[in-house]
């Protein structure tokens, strides 16, 4: 029985780093997988002893993609501790900033970070523009920017780059792999959208900045509410937001969703056989409050809850006290799972095992990751867009069910099934990627409603943006949590406050849930479980591994940011500085 190890390092297309070690048998089926990665550490050290009203400004330094999410979570953890309910305008503004992050993040993820696992860019050069235009009408009545002349231009542009040797993205994937299933024309359509999305993502980034003040690291949230008072009272700003949002929504509906359906049909076998399903345990904290009854009481756009073993008929209520983190396989000391209020972070690095072939391998029976293993009520769970859609359906949420049903019906129609595609198809790598697209469309639509609600509320004379509180009184002895959904999944910040100062602080980020190593009972984390049973066609091109891990939108940003020149000879670019002794 020969066991071969495949190491993929790094695996993300952005932020931080993550390595996956997969063990395959003689049939190239993955029998074991280990995810090892770096995580952000130290926010608790930095925040201890600070004024809790300032915590958000530092907590946002955890990450640059979800910077606003950490900022908001931190502020809401403190608001929860102080028992503050923010005004309606503040709630809507926060929803809009967060919603903008979702649609931006999801579109960029699909096209620029994950799309090339499905779309063969080089093959697109063989695509016939006229045929591709005809193809595009199969997926959308009004396809986005893929007329024959558009596509001729796209091809010219790509060809020019390849000729110039400006290979950038062309040089670093597994082009030509058998794992790619789209036709040249379909690849051409998706490639055109890849380029167009690059331009359009700027609009979505502006959406975040309109009410956030700046991106990255917005500045407009405070404990008690928001500070963008002028922006919400300025009809021109509201109109600008709406215009940009509509433009981006148009792209979502006429490019992103149709492309997803097109890929869904081509890769449907991988969905139906459940490739990449993994744990099938899903958890959401819930997010986007729809009324003003205060934290954890409001009706939510994404309900909170837990679904176990893919059983959509039973929704288990979510209870934050059942969250714990275990460090059995993580480079920290600790002997039992702890709730984040009592969390500890004491590094204990034990290294990798160097083998004769020059590679370093993890020691699977020992510690092998910087990420802790979060556990919910003695279950390993997956978080993210798929979890939100699954929990929404299990909760009987009307809006989520409608969007999910519509997509499955579209897929069923294109496949000629005569009925919707089965919901179980969502439990797969393809399904995870589809869930993200479904959620994007839902979010874009609901954001328009929120903008109108905000404008109407301000017009009615409610200009309140901040709830007053007596700091000295509420901050004597308090604890609170900010639990919500970042684009990548459930994100929680827990804070304990004593005599006006932070006593303890823990953040558990979405990628911790998904990218975590095994736990004290040797149960796998979500990435690890999702890889088991997958067949790798060519061990030198482990595209199947990348596809599944990328489908979670991995972000281990909470690591170190440094430009790595990887040993390239660059000495002639050294800046000569005079000695300054």
């Amino acid at each position: 029985m020969s066991k071969q190890h495949i190491i993929v390092d790094p695996i993300t297309r952005i932020e931080g780093h993550l390595r996956v070690e997969a063990v395959i048998d003689e049939n190239n089926i993955i029998t074991d997988a280990y995810a090892s990665s770096t995580m952000f550490r130290g926010i608790e050290t930095i925040l201890k002893g600070r004024d809790p009203r300032d915590a958000g400004l530092l907590a946002m330094r955890i990450c640059g993609v979800c910077t606003g999410t950490h900022y908001q979570r931190s502020i809401e953890a403190v608001e929860d501790a102080f028992d503050i309910t923010i005004p309606k305008n503040a709630r809507l503004v926060r929803n809009l900033i967060q919603g903008a992050l979702y649609i931006h993040d999801h579109v960029v993820h699909f096209y620029h970070l994950h799309g090339l696992d499905w779309v063969d860019l080089v093959d697109a050069l063989k695509g016939d523009p006229k045929k591709a235009q005809e193809e595009s009408f199969k997926w959308c009545k009004t396809p986005y920017g893929v007329s024959e002349s558009d596509l001729i231009q796209v091809k010219e542009r790509l060809t020019k780059f390849v000729k110039q040797g400006r290979l950038g993205i062309f040089s670093n994937a597994y082009w030509g792999s058998k794992a790619y299933k789209l036709t040249p024309e379909q690849n051409l359509i998706a490639t055109a959208h890849y380029l167009q999305a690059l331009d359009l993502q700027r609009d979505a980034a502006k959406l975040m900045a309109i009410f956030g003040g700046k991106m990255p690291h917005p500045q407009s949230l405070v404990v008690g509410g928001v500070t963008c008072v002028q922006d919400i009272q300025n009809p021109a700003r509201i109109a600008q937001f709406k215009t940009l949002l509509k433009k981006f929504t148009h792209f979502i509906k006429t490019a992103y969703l149709p492309d997803l359906a097109m890929a869904g049909v081509k890769y449907v076998d991988e969905a139906l056989d459940g490739t990449g399903a993994g744990l099938k345990n899903f958890m959401t904290y819930g997010d986007f409050r729809l009324d003003d009854t205060g934290f954890y009481n409001s009706k939510l756009l994404f309900p909170a809850g837990v679904v176990l073993n893919g059983d959509l008929s039973t929704l288990h209520p979510f209870d934050q006290s059942k969250v714990a983190e275990d460090v059995t396989h993580s480079w920290y000391t600790g002997d039992k799972p702890l709730h984040p209020y009592d969390g500890e972070t004491n590094p204990n690095y034990t290294g990798l095992e160097k083998k004769a072939d020059g590679f370093a391998y993890i020691k699977p029976d020992e510690k092998y990751s910087w990420i802790k293993s979060p556990i919910y009520d003695d279950n390993r769970v997956e978080v993210g867009p798929l979890a939100r859609m699954v929990v929404g359906v299990a909760a009987g949420d009307e809006r989520i069910t409608k969007y999910v049903t519509n997509f499955l019906a579209l897929l069923g129609d294109k496949l000629g099934l005569g009925k919707p595609a089965p919901t179980a198809a969502l439990f797969s790598t393809v399904g995870r990627t589809a869930a993200r697209a479904i959620e994007t469309e839902l979010m874009a639509d609901v954001m328009i409603e929120w903008v109108d609600e905000l404008a109407a509320n301000v017009a009615s004379g409610d200009l309140s943006t901040w709830t007053e509180f007596d700091f000295d009184k509420v901050s004597k002895d308090a604890k609170g949590h900010g639990l919500a959904e970042a684009p990548r999944g459930g994100l929680g910040h827990w804070v304990k406050i004593k005599d006006g100062k932070i006593e303890n602080y823990q953040a558990v980020v979405p990628s911790t849930w998904n990218a975590a190593p095994r736990d004290h009972k040797n149960r796998m984390g979500a990435y690890e479980a999702a890889l088991i049973g997958t067949k790798v066609a060519d061990v030198n091109q482990p595209i199947e591994i990348l596809k599944t891990v990328h489908s979670f939108d991995p972000c281990i940003a909470c690591a170190v940011h440094i430009v790595d020149t990887k040993g390239k000879e660059l000495s002639k670019f050294k800046v000569n500085t005079s000695c300054s002794i």
């Binding site: 952005i14 300032d54 640059g64 990255p216 700091f471 940011h561 660059l570 500085t577």
Partner: protein
Amino acid sequence: MRVAIVGAGTIIFKDEGVGVYAQKYIDNNYEFESDVTLVDGGVLGFQLMTYYQDYDKVLILDTITMEDEVGSIYNLPANEMLGLGSYKQTAHEVEIVEMLEICSVLEKMAEVNIIGIIPEDIISVHIGLSDKMKEKFFQFVDAAMAELDRAGIKYKRKDEEYPLEDIILSYSNPQSEYKNGHQANYQL
């Protein structure tokens, strides 16, 4: 010519904040005659794409790894970095370069230079700089200014210096000025 100077890095890992401090130092100590935007990029990810697209020239101030001594300063043209942020099995992810690669298929992309410095300590959880970084800090700023000179950007130093110590302090102890409610005397 529209210029963006982006300071990148995680300020809570000691020397990793050097790029962020440097952009703030330039912002507080220089006046520009032309269109120059200073950006506290911090741990920015995708947003880099927007700068690469919206500006003619972009300077990224950041820490770099290199076989050289701590405090060495480099001015790396983007083209030299392409091909490094790849899918291959390497030990590190380079998101700044990754974004360059993605943007290299655009019709128009900024001329990008990475002004990099080799850090001493990016492991400690501490907001501030090591002595070695402090010693080299002004040369790091000068390297960025020299790149602006080459591009013909005119600027002058302000009369009064806003010291590095104060900049680090403003980051290590960010105080929300709205702690006790928003200021009511704004102008619409």
